[in-house]
Subunit: 232 residues, 2 copies
DNA sequence: TACCTTTTATGTTTTAAAACACAAAGTTAC
DNA sequence: GTAACTTTGTGTTTTAAAACATAAAAGGTA
């Protein structure tokens, strides 16, 4: 298992990052890299905790979220394999500002942030990797602020569906979203109550923009969804 | 003017960053550093433009904002002297995702991002400076998402007043906010209409939490404002 | 299987905030 | 100094979304 996961780490998109390491550095990573498995809905870390690890999602899907006022939850970011997460707080010298949980059974690898820090110091490319990731995430976060505060319910939900399709993609039929999430999560992603997510989703079905079968969502009219996302 | 500004740059909080440069590097900075002056409400850069410079606010106050749906504006971040801004888009390889404008007459210095990039490559500490800044900003942005979407109007405005006092501080009386902004800006900062900002502000005056004299806002009961910000 | 819990669905009521409308102060321009 | 415009202030109406209330499915489990 560990070997397979590491192969994956060393081969896929992160290759560009870790390949610049010399053999001794690679050995340090392999020794420190620990695999964890999380069940569906299991917490990975919680807001307020001390950040110690760089997390790398190898398999499954993960949500980053923040508990807000009166039990309401906002999903901030979605993680897919293979993506890194959980490093921001360490770099900012803060405790975790949000929580992470597995959407579905997931395999995650960890590296101590102290090690990551050392490697950044010895590896310009790794520094640039994080500067780039943080910059992209910050842009996304700023855009999200405007989308969530200014768009109406239909626009927010349409946007969420588009984001889900862009991020996790489709099944082989090229229509069915690869993520199967509860209406509540869909609501938490698009800043509305669960009943409004359900209601608005039904509306989209009636308008033949999507079909719904339990948690299986099929996108029928993406251009129109994009329009609704853009103009309300 | 230029000399004075540079002295400021080299002496204050950024000293930690630029002091590690050798003489040749320092010369490159001094040669490339260009001073600009902006009038009240003048645009510094606009969303969609190509980012080319690192901006350094030397004097004045600057807002970063995003134009949203139907003419609504969201203020994303406030810049004070001496702070850097406008580098995220370049690092993310994107165009500007938000605009920047001067709140009041402001002096800004620029450095070409290509130069900044070179310097990061030769200077580990500078890389860490940006990793740290981006990480802190990202945390702030995520927190803002929850604050702006979940808090009620009173909570959002109270929060904005606290943020303004924390960020720009008070006049010598230790009560009067150092920033004098239009009600419309206050509204754009806290995601509400101008009339609601005015109305809610009047409410705070009636409750003796603040006094208002034109754009001069005096904080009388900060603990209570913090409570309102926290619990609605 | 039957029982219990969670999730999905839909109708109704309530409410927070936007939209609208207008008036009074303040500013700026001429 | 007066006119034109902008900003501030307040009352009223409208509306989008939350809250509430059930009920039907679906899923788990004893």
């Amino acid at each position: 298992m560990i070997k397979k996961a590491l192969e994956k780490v060393m081969s896929e998109d992160m290759s560009e990052i870790w390949t610049v390491l010399n053999n001794e550095e690679k050995r340090r990573i392999i020794d420190a890299f620990v695999i964890h498995n999380f069940k569906k809905n299991q917490m990975i870390y919680a807001e307020g905790e001390e950040p110690e690890y760089l997390w790398c999602l190898l398999q499954g899907k993960v949500k980053k979220f923040k508990d807000g006022v009166g039990g309401r939850v906002q999903i901030l970011r979605l993680i897919r394999s293979v993506q890194y997460f959980g490093y921001r707080a360490y770099f900012a010298n803060e405790r975790y500002n949000s929580s992470a949980a597995a959407f579905e059974p997931s395999t995650v690898g960890t590296l101590p942030m102290t090690l990551v820090k050392d490697m950044i110091n010895n590896n310009r490319k790794l520094a640039w990797f994080f500067i780039h990731e943080l910059s992209r995430n910050l842009g996304g976060s700023d855009t999200k602020i405007v989308n969530l505060t200014q768009k109406h319910i239909r626009g927010r939900l349409a946007e969420a569906l588009i984001v889900l399709s862009d991020h996790y993609g489709f099944e082989d039929d090229n229509m069915t979203l690869k993520i199967y999430m509860a209406r509540e999560d869909l609501a938490n992603l698009s800043n509305m109550t669960t009943s409004n997510a359900i209601r608005t989703l039904s509306g989209f079905v009636a308008e033949k923009l999507i079909t719904v079968d339990g948690r299986r969502i099929r996108i029928l009219d993406e251009p129109q969804l994009r329009k609704i996302s853009k103009y309300g």
